[in-house]
């Protein structure tokens, strides 16, 4: 398998998981950079060019609430899970756990 193929597969594998990670991290309010830092500290490396548009798309879908706040002499847009987002996160978490449980034994073979 070539590096390009591996990168493509990794990207596909991570795409869905990133949504779950972002929604889960936004139980607490975060602005773009602080969210990226939190994900990085948790071991999920995501580049800015992917993360910032992703947060906006989730907000456009009504899964996140957002507001501009002033802090440290600068304005920042804070995002937090909306009610709809919280419902979706609960369902996705359940789905993820089921998948993980089913996938574990398969990968061990």
């Amino acid at each position: 398998m070539t590096t390009a193929q591996l990168d493509k597969m990794r990207l596909e594998l991570r795409r869905g998981v990133l949504v779950l990670a972002v929604l889960s991290s936004l139980k607490e309010p975060h602005y773009g950079y602080s969210l990226r830092k939190q994900l990085q500290d948790a071991g999920i490396d995501i580049d800015e060019g992917t993360l910032y548009p992703l947060i906006r798309r989730l907000a456009d879908q009504g899964l996140l609430d957002s507001e501009w706040r002033q802090g440290e002499g600068r304005e920042r847009r804070y995002y937090q899970l909306s009610e709809l987002g919280a419902d979706l996160l609960a369902q996705l978490t359940k789905e993820w756990q089921q998948l993980n449980k089913a996938l574990g034994p398969l990968l061990e073979h």
């Binding site: 602005y31 773009g32 950079y33 602080s34 060019g49 910032y52 600068r74 847009r77």
Partner: protein, 311 residues
């Protein structure tokens, strides 16, 4: 910082007007946060180096803008095959019409050279094709918009209604439907195109031939309707086979009548001085007989297929 403003302006340029201010405002806030973090991590580097690093990580402005606002195709992916066939069919007809029109003009004008003929053909085709391309694209764009709204509703389909195909040939290829459609349309235009009056002085049809062609025009219209029916079904059913068989039988009759009921055209054009009237009429009759073989073959083919389906 000038570089940062240039980057934001380039991103803004690629975004729709209603998102420009909001997206760049947020992107700028995020970049400034990243720059702060970089200053803490690598204080020995200059501000310009930091900006360069962050912008390099973010990627080209166009790519960044597309991430925020993915481009929407003008025509939905599922409509592309139909769009392609429609385009090829219409452009094909336009090309043939231009060839016929220019040739008739050429036959009627002694001073018209080969270069002028090619120029007439080319300019006519480009003008008509541009108009047709625009019209078809706009039509499919509007269909795409309509389908997008429809797709948002839950699809209501019944798997038990899937066609039961017992023969491989029962699936109708899009290319076959469009070839037939193009033929019927071309023939209709050829018979009724009003502009022929101006150019056909060189090659006039006899009253009898014109009458036969016009009487059989409804058959061509039925052929178009039959093709649209095929397009909606996409597989041969006994009813479709019977309709196709009948249509092709009528076509054979029309062509044979044209071939055997006297001359098709009144005079031999001056350009074709090397042919006498008998030779020209004989050539036309033979050409028509060869032409009749195509629908004739389809009559036999559909007859055999009907028998296969009955078994």
């Amino acid at each position: 910082m000038d570089l940062l403003e240039r980057y934001l302006a380039a991103v803004q340029q690629e975004l729709p007007a209603d998102k420009q201010q909001d997206v760049t405002r947020e992107l700028k806030a995020n970049i400034l946060d990243q720059l702060d973090a970089l200053r803490e991590q690598t204080p020995e580097q200059s501000d310009e180096e930091h900006v360069l690093h962050v912008l390099h990580e973010l990627g080209p402005p166009k790519q960044m803008a597309y991430q925020f606002h993915p481009p929407q195709p003008l025509i939905r992916a599922e409509l592309i095959p139909l769009f392609r066939f429609t385009l090829f069919m219409v452009l094909g007809i336009i090309f043939l019409i231009n060839v016929v029109e220019s040739t008739l003009l050429w036959l009627g004008h002694d001073q018209m050279g080969l270069l002028l003929l090619l120029k007439h053909m080319g300019s006519g085709f480009i003008g008509d094709a541009t108009l047709a391309f625009t019209g078809i694209t706009l039509g499919f764009w509007s269909m795409s918009k309509e389908q997008k709204n429809r797709c948002q509703q839950l699809p209501n389909w019944d798997p038990s209604k899937l066609p039961q195909l017992s023969q491989k040939w029962q699936r109708i290829e899009l290319s076959d439907i469009f070839t037939d459609l193009a033929t019927y349309l071309f023939l209709l235009i050829l018979i009724w195109y009003p502009a022929w009056g101006e150019v056909q002085s060189s090659l006039s049809l006899t009253e009898q031939s014109r009458f036969i062609l016009q009487v059989f025009s409804p058959v061509l219209l039925l052929g178009i309707a039959n093709n649209l029916w095929q397009l909606s079904q996409r597989n041969w059913t006994p009813a479709l086979l019977k309709a196709n068989l009948l249509l092709n039988a009528f076509m054979v009759i029309a062509i044979l009548l044209l071939a055997f009921t006297g001359p098709l055209i009144t005079d031999v054009p001056e350009r074709l001085y090397w042919l006498d009237a008998d030779q020209l009429h004989r050539s036309i009759t033979i050409s028509l007989l060869i032409l009749a073989l195509f629908p004739g073959w389809e009559v036999i083919r559909d007859g055999r297929r009907l028998l296969q389906l009955k078994k």
